[in-house]
Symmetry: C2
Subunit: 324 residues, 2 copies
């Protein structure tokens, strides 16, 4: 009987593989660098080579049901990575990565974007077990989202629905976003956005802060979180503002899909109540009354393996689909 | 063989009933006032009495498969009208109208809000035939929305998803909305919002306009549309601004569900290109590139009967569901 799936968390820097059982236990892992390949074929060659020993470790490919991939700009409908700005071998075209892996490994392969993988991961192994309508927001370098409606990921007409990091939160003098537009949610509420808020406050005010001990251009959201943990007022205010904007954004998202929960994923959630309290408070104060009861949760997946588990969950879902 | 459904367009003022065949032909109609009843039972009594002759006209209740109701604050999950501000007999509680009609008529009855009914109507008889992912925006006294994802209405965790008229478009000094919050889309882009924009421009500027011939407190969106049709610059600017804000709103909505089309419904669409052009232009200029290809369409349903057809479409959908 086949009892494992391969999960691949394909990030801009590293690609982490895990072989995962149906209970979400990672049986074996390996990784390669994502960068450094001239084309996608070379990348897949290196990945298959790295996978070979861990596949043997669990009893060979015949024990493996399927593979799931979470990747930036991953399109579920065609299994391709499309114009991913941070991946040299995929930034100028459509790379049919699912088909390429499937051909090499001889198993079905499904691919989606990383935030969607996180959402399926929460539903399969995390805090969204039993939920049918929820939204996962990933707070990392950017802000990603996976939207589950009636128990299924929302993919939309082109497979690329759910880019909530790119709704416009500030229509007047908004911050310039990597997407070329201004005022996107992710320019304020990603880890990068938090660091940007810190730099703005440090350079435009004279307010005292522990953050002044750090080179202003090198400040990270983690620095801000640590300073806030030590009681630094400026750092606390940064998380307060960030949480308030996320709360306002969630109030608008609720009017769309009336989720029972918003689930936050990524390093920034380590700030805990520093960010979660302003999110909840601002949401409740500002949401249309019909949606007041939504829960606000932090991902239930173990940080270091969450993305691999999310990807593996896409693999299990795909295995079910292929059987039907 | 049963071959008709009853569609009920339940508005704040009038309730219009139609008996509709599978091709969307309205075979018979009747109506009653919505207001003037002390409780929901009296309303249903009057409705059933008014329906009796037209049911006979098509061959009796055994020819009728189902009934569909489109109503403000209608919840599909429980078939109830919930706290509808404009209906005296439903503004302070949960009225299980679907069950009440079903008991009296002996047929299955489904109920949803008016904008959702419009969306199902477009999918069944209108411009959304064959589409699986689209958003209907109804521009009337308020702004309503019906969101279709993967061929089904998005109802969310509580049956009340899709209140896109209440996303916040203006976070600084936004207009006060009937919902008690500020800056909601519908305070700008409903028929009422257009009239409000006209009043603001007429009272805060000295600009010449044909609209100055009308009592400023009585101006309607139709007056603005007529003046714009005559080339009035101020009136044209009002539609331009209204369309621009709708275009910006649609750009955010696209990031949620990646619809293949936005469909506009309601009297204001009679302004045609006056409003559709700024919507399209602003959308294309401002949307996240992945969603640039969405279409912008005006409802394909005949205005006077569109709401009844939409309600009847809910009836057909319900008949299918009951059979399964």
């Amino acid at each position: 009987m086949k009892k494992y799936v391969i999960g691949l968390d394909l990030g801009g820097t590293n690609s982490v593989f895990g072989i995962v059982d149906a209970q979400g236990v990672i049986k074996a892992t390996t990784s390669i660098k994502t960068a450094g390949f001239s084309d996608a074929k070379d990348y897949v060659d290196a990945a298959v080579k790295a996978l070979a020993p861990i596949i043997e470790e669990v009893g060979g490919i015949e024990k493996i049901e399927s593979m799931g991939v979470g990747a930036p700009n991953g399109n579920y409908y065609n299994g391709a990575i499309e114009y991913a700005p941070n991946i040299a071998w995929a930034h100028e075209g459509v790379v049919p990565l699912a088909d390429m892996f499937s051909e090499r490994l001889g198993i079905p392969v499904a691919l989606t974007n990383d935030a969607n993988a996180a959402a399926i991961g929460e539903m399969t192994y995390g805090v969204a077990r039993g939920m049918k309508n929820f939204i996962v927001l990933t707070l990392g370098t950017g802000v990603g989202s996976g939207i589950v409606v009636d128990g299924k990921l929302l993919y939309g007409s082109n497979g690329l629905a759910g880019e909530l990091g790119h709704v416009i939160m500030e229509r007047h003098n908004g911050r310039l976003c990597g997407c070329g537009r201004k005022g996107c949610l992710e320019t304020y509420c990603s880890a990068t956005g938090v660091a940007r808020t810190a730099r703005e406050l440090l350079t435009t005010t004279e307010r005292p802060s522990l953050l002044r001990d750090i080179d202003v251009d090198a400040i990270t959201s983690l620095d801000v979180s640590i300073a806030a943990g030590k009681g630094d007022e400026l750092a606390k205010e940064i998380y307060q503002k960030t949480g308030e904007m996320l709360g306002l954004a969630c109030a608008d998202f609720a009017a769309f899909s009336a989720p029972e929960a918003f689930i936050f994923f990524g390093g920034m959630t380590k700030a805990g109540e520093l960010i979660m309290k302003p999110i909840r408070d601002t949401y409740v104060e500002n949401v249309f009354p019909l949606y007041r009861n939504a829960q606000f949760l932090i991902s239930g997946l173990d940080g270091s393996s969450a993305a691999v588990l999310g990807a593996s969950a896409i693999g299990w879902e795909n295995a079910e689909r292929v059987k039907k």
